[in-house]
Amino acid sequence: MTKVTLKLSNMSCPSCMTKIQKALSQINGVEKISVLFNAGKVKAEIDESQTEPNALAKVVTGLGYPVEKIIVK
């Protein structure tokens, strides 16, 4: 499992949180998603045989939240 942290530029409404959470949970191989609304961060664990960090970033960007930085550990 790889830990991925996405740093977002801004999240204004708490409903963005549920949106991002739900959208990411629909990707295969993504687990333990936590959306830190106040810190503007999305953290998740991914199985790299099924998906990659950029796929997560693409979904989040697609929802209208630009991703500033991707940190992979």
């Binding site: 409903s15 739900k22 830190l36 609304f37 961060k41 209208g64």
Partner: protein, 608 residues
Amino acid sequence: MITIQNWFSEHKKHLTISMTVLVAIAYLSRLTPYNLYNVSMIAIAALGGVPILLRAASALRYKIVSIEFLVSIAVISALFIGEYSEAGIVIWLFSLGDLLEEATLAKSRQSIQDLVNLAPKTALKITDLDSKTSEEVDVDEVELGDLLLVKTGSQVPVDGSVYQGDGHVNEASITGESKPSHKEVGTPVYAGTSLESGTLIVQAEKVGEDTTFGRLIELVEEAQDSKTKVQKLIDRFSQYYTPFVLLLALVVGFFTKDVRLATTILVLGCPGALVIGVPISTVTGIGSSAKSGIIAKGSAALDQLTKIDTFVFDKTGTLTTGKPSVSQVVNLTGNERDNLQLLASLEAESDHPLAKAINAYYDGDLFPVAKSEVVAGRGLAAQVNGANLLVGNERLMSENGIATAGIDLDPTGSHVYLAVNGKLALALAIADTLRSDALEQLAALRKIKPYKFVLLSGDQQTVVDAVARELNFDEAHGSLLPADKAAYIKSLQAGGHQVAFIGDGINDSPALATADLAIAMGSGTDVAIDVSDLVLVKDQFSQLPTAVRFANKTIANMRQNIAISLLTVALLFIGLFAGYVEMGLGMLIHELSILVVTANGMRLLRLT
């Protein structure tokens, strides 16, 4: 579509200003022969409606019914039935509210931002060790094992150990101790602390979020998004609430054929205040606490703190300073000042904790020591200023035929005797003293609520009893092993008590794990962070009553916000079916309720 969406979110502010101008034009034009009212309103609906529609569509792709979706349907239907003004006003208010929310949220996050700003951002990476040349790199780029140069006045960028050089480091951001600590080759240093003198070359062992300081920040970030049971309930509720409102509007529209009523229901369906109310209290309450050095692991920890009725304290390092100091001086022959000078001169050469306490107590000139020799397990024999000295315990004195009986020294401390030329001159008691403000702060705590105070310690019962008497404890038990402490806490819990355990976070993990709330005091170390729910970073007893006050205020604030939002929803629906609330007014009340809960939550930013 993504880029269009980004363009809209970047120009959100300009769009909202344009809409506001259009609203003004709409109303002013009514006073002139050229009525631009409807045209302006349609323009507003288009200008603000497109980004909302795009956001609704992108959410819908992931099968999520968002608030934007409800607003979009409502506005399109309003335009369809010719209610241009309703459509325009709703869009304008929704956009304005969005902008205001963003601004106030940014403000509410200020306290955590201040903390994050304290974290080191760059490091000087050594490129050539011999010439000590270095280049500035982003702290994220530092790898484990890298050698980094730290200059006087700058921050230590990583957790690691000193590789070369020495200096004094202020570690207040980690341990609360503001007295600089001396660092030399091999000693550990921590990110976020600052070098006050000297130059160090540090080898990185932990970087970024893995450092102690990084973990503190991460903890606060996660705590601010943590949820109490009530909040989890509300989240689940609001998840079903939005689709439910959509369904309700469809059903009402179908049976009454009243499109206006149906669209109004849609607008009211935004659960706004309910969703934002509790998080705003959490973020401001936890943020303010963190700024004051009270790190709560989550709002649940604060919630638990308000329910505690029994505080169980560890003694050493918690109620006491953890550093021995001279607590009693009995002068027997000669001048006390002269005797102390002789004693301190001799002790100045020793590293023994008792010697350190004596030298901290005596502050004056010292004699050179002519000759000194250690008497193992007993003390020292020496020649100072022409006098033959014996310094040590009762045993040293009795072995040299000097009687120490009858001197009334504090039985809880360690005793040090000084004999000058075979005659007992001075007797000292050295004890781990109570924190000077312990009594006062415990009284302050009891003023908030009549708590039960229990002292559990590994120390002997006589010492524990003395402390308990002085600080008005309800119970005190000594000679306990860590497991005994945990067992005692269990018995308190079985008696129906909500127990908080306060320790220094290093020992006592069983007790900390057993207690309903674990509080670590005065050490932001890794261990303390791991085992406790609440870390009091500043090594001050006054933090405890402050933490309780902050917790009470934060939890009260959350309850107020829940009440305000539920009341708003209830009032809106009653107003709607009684026929008083229209679409525009509904949106206005909705946005106002968000502003009210936000303003209420922001009060917590001013907690002191």
